[in-house]
């Protein structure tokens, strides 16, 4: 037997095992999508909570494996019911993107809560399975591999029996087929929803523990990528299709395992996101579906709450600008000024995002990707080509405008929450390309000794300079965007957002105006990223994570979608003020998550109103 078979056998086993773990996640996601047409972004966090419950149970109570699994099933099941009740049921009649954002908020809150209680440090999970391995045809299979496979099979079988032979299972299937009809026939739709969330959460939790045992390692952030993998696996098999989700999971597991074998571990997550984008574009109904038409989205799927925006009179705006510009006369702490300058740059990011998410109605969760392109662009131009910083930053803005629009172009044909998923995927891909394109980006080492900002030939490294330069950039971008919004482009983009069908019927070519919106957004985000790179002087692939994208979206929703002043207010409230008051930094992400949840529930139009 040739010697290469052994490793490939191992890769195959590994792919199937990982696929089984994804399947436990994806099946739950498919069930939830089936009954409520919701993509549950909190699922990964529930999986993480499941791993922690299992870890606690084993290390503190010394439970044997079957009991550990039972504890997880009960604990996560209750958590699932709670999530459905608190964060989703009240949003049933809201636009579909609202519950999706709500689950993102829940996920963030869970991740941060666990991190606060158990610290971010990874924990080892004692494996409760003997570690014998069986040699088969040059490779090996361990007891844990078999256990994971068995649990996967058993769960699928139990689920099948439940859906097929119990009254509640029938109710679940009826609700998935036609919610209103089921309700009129006396099905308790709320009970069905709770049940489905409980089942999904229980499966997800078990999956979390199995992963913990497989890699002997759990940490509070393990859920984020796992949840996304579950979503991708579900998309491969077709949204809401339970057997499809299992098949999709195995396919994804194998793709990853073989991919890692061929290219290396650092590529692991890239495969999933590339597959995600390809599926969205080519086979949005999954590989088992015949057509390529998307599942129906409500015709007006945008998350714009009707409201009259607060119009700030010019004297107020001028006074606010004057106060902001004069702040360094009062504040002399250089470090504080620098941090406030950075919060202005976050304001630029929010202005950029409010254009695409608010004005053009394309809720993007990958905006940090644009920031990263700008940052790397300007840093590399300054370091490798020796361009002066005042030239490299605007140039990076232009590069980001072009490259960002090009990367997002395939998602222009998508609508509603598919846009959100696609942008999230593109954002992740940008980060992963940065991680893996060593020759350009120095990979995981990152770029250090990036030249500082400079103005008029002098280096601007003091806090005052950073503060004022950031403020000028903010005002320029805000002014530019304000002028854009008062032109025909503003009303055309808003028309496209409010009703794309009606807009098309009046000759609005959607791609053109989406491209213009993303182009402008790329320009400002790229400039913000460029300036940030020179302020930070060190950046790597983790400088602009998906948490930054999420923070930007929270700022934008807080201020009011599409509202420029609102975006700036959002950045002041969420980044600037906490910095000034030295507000406990470890609670900050938790507060962002809660803010997002509460806003979507109680004030979707934000503080200053949508525009």
């Amino acid at each position: 037997m040739p010697s290469w078979i052994g490793p490939w056998f191992d890769y195959t086993i590994n792919g199937i095992v990982v696929g089984n773990i994804y399947a436990l996640l994806a099946v739950g996601l498919a069930l939830i999508y089936g009954v409520s047409h919701l993509i549950n972004f909190a699922h990964g966090s529930i999986y993480m909570v499941g791993a922690y419950i299992g870890w606690l149970s084993i290390t503190r109570l010394g439970t044997p494996l079957p009991l550990t699994l039972l504890v997880i099933v009960i604990g996560c099941g209750l958590l699932g019911v709670l999530v459905e009740r608190v964060a989703l049921r009240p949003l049933r009649d809201a636009p579909r993107i609202a519950p999706l954002l709500s689950t993102i908020g829940v996920g963030l809150v869970l991740d941060q809560a666990v991190q606060l209680v158990f610290t971010p440090d990874p924990r080892g999970v004692p494996s409760q399975v003997s570690d014998w391995r069986l040699a088969i045809g040059g490779g090996t299979i361990g007891a844990l591999d078999i256990l994971i496979g068995a649990i996967g099979l058993a769960s699928a079988l139990l689920l099948y029996l439940f859906l097929r032979f119990t009254k509640l299972g029938w109710a679940v299937r009826a609700t998935a087929l036609d919610r209103d009809a089921a309700q009129q026939c006396g099905v308790d739709v709320n009970l069905v929803n709770s049940t489905v969330f409980a089942i999904a959460a229980a499966l997800g939790g078990v999956s979390g523990l199995l992963v913990g045992m497989y890699y002997n390692n759990i940490d509070p952030n393990m859920g984020y990528h796992a949840g996304l993998k579950g979503i991708v696996a579900q998309m491969i098999g077709g949204m809401g299709n339970v057997p499809g989700a299992i098949a999709g999971s195995l396919i994804l597991g194998l793709i990853e395992s073989y991919g890692i074998a061929a290219l290396g571990t650092s590529y692991r997550n890239l495969f999933a996101f590339v597959v995600m984008i390809l599926i969205l574009i080519l086979k949005p109904n999954g590989i088992f579906a015949r057509g390529r038409s998307l599942p129906p989205e409500p015709l007006t799927g945008t998350f714009i709450a009707p409201s009259a925006p607060v119009r700030l009179p010019w004297p107020v705006v001028s006074a606010a600008i004057a106060v902001a510009a004069a702040l360094p006369l009062v504040v002399h702490n250089g470090y504080l000024l620098q941090t406030l300058g950075i919060s202005w740059l976050y304001g630029v990011l929010a202005i950029s995002l409010t254009l695409v998410a608010g004005t053009a109605g394309q809720i993007s969760l990958g905006h940090a990707g644009l920031l990263a392109i700008g940052a790397y662009g300007s840093a590399l131009l300054a370091m490798r080509s020796g361009l002066p910083v005042p030239v490299s930053v605007p140039l990076a803005g232009l590069i980001t405008a072009g490259l960002g629009t090009l990367l997002l172009y395939p998602s222009f044909r998508l609508r509603g929450h598919y846009v959100t998923i696609a942008t999230l995927g593109v954002g992740e891909i940008v980060t992963l390309v940065i991680l893996n394109w060593d020759s350009l980006t120095q990979g995981p080492i990152g770029l250090s000794a990036i030249p500082p900002l400079s103005a008029f030939g002098a280096k601007a490294i003091s806090g005052v300079w950073i503060y004022e330069i950031a403020l000028v950039v903010l005002l320029l971008v805000a002014g530019l965007q304000h002028r854009l919004l008062t032109s025909h482009l503003g009303r055309t983009m808003r028309a496209m957002r409010d009703d794309d069908v009606a807009a098309r019927s009046y000759g609005v070519v959607l791609d053109r105006y989406k491209a213009l919106a993303f182009g402008m957004a790329g320009l400002s985000a790229g400039v913000a990223g460029g300036v940030l790179a020179h302020v930070y002087s060190y950046i790597n692939h983790e400088t602009f994570t998906s948490q930054v994208s999420l923070l930007a979206l929270t700022m934008v929703i807080l201020g009011g979608l599409g509202n420029i002043a609102g975006a700036v207010l959002g950045s002041v409230l969420l980044v600037g003020l906490p910095e000034v008051f030295r507000f406990a930094a470890e609670y900050r992400m938790l507060i962002y998550g809660l803010a997002l949840l509460l806003l979507i529930r109680f004030r979707p139009q934000g503080l200053l109103g949508t525009q």
Binding site: L489, R504, S505, V509
Partner: protein, 281 residues
Amino acid sequence: MTPLLEIQDLTRCFGGIAAVNAVGFDVAEGELVSVIGPNGAGKTTLFNIVTGLETADEGSVRLAGRDITGLPAEKLAPLGIARTFQHGRVFGNLSVMENVLVGAHTRLEAVRPQWPLIGPVAEFALALLRPGHVVEEEQRLREDAREIISLFGERLMPRLDHPAFSLSYANRRRVEIARALAAKPRLLMMDEPTAGMNPTETLEMLEIIRALKGGSLTILLIEHKLELVMQLSDRVVVMDGGVKIAEDKPAAIAKNPKVIAAYLGHGAVGEGKSTTAEVAS
């Protein structure tokens, strides 16, 4: 003379059911043709095919002799087709004025150069820099929009800057018609313009449509209020179950037994004493 709109053998099936089945008729320049029929007759599907929101399985549509079958909506608008929607699709967060200005989107020429590739960039730059001719064009379109809105008098004029979501249902319908008129269309297609309007408002709408027709606009109308159809139409096309069952002058349509059967059910034919009157009421 070639008719402005020629519809031939249009067929569209949804899962084996023909929503529109081999329907064909013409609309001449300056004519007002109404399409009537019971709910589910396929009228709106027909409209959606003609306006490029759906594609036909078979058949063709020609506008002024040019084959426009299968062209998407955004390419039909510049050719002079404007429409209103059955359930009202105003841009909720845009003001009345802005809604009507979006209707004039295809008339933006100075600011919307149709150059390949760099067109969008030029549009962006022109929108930011706003040279004289761009400002002038915007000004002209605004005046024009105001004039169109003034057709609806006190209903809309005091609400120019109100967001459309705050308007009454009837006023949203008016905004839609104003938006369609702002496109200066060759063919205006209205899908139930008086739906949800009371008798007084319906009468107002009738006068407005009559005035539009007098202004030699070509109009294709879907309407359920037969009184209005009978008064306004040059010709009436009747659909039932996806098929065209009659096409004639209004007076003849009112007497057509097939039409009466479609509206009142087949059992009613011959039993009713004044079926014609019932159809027309």
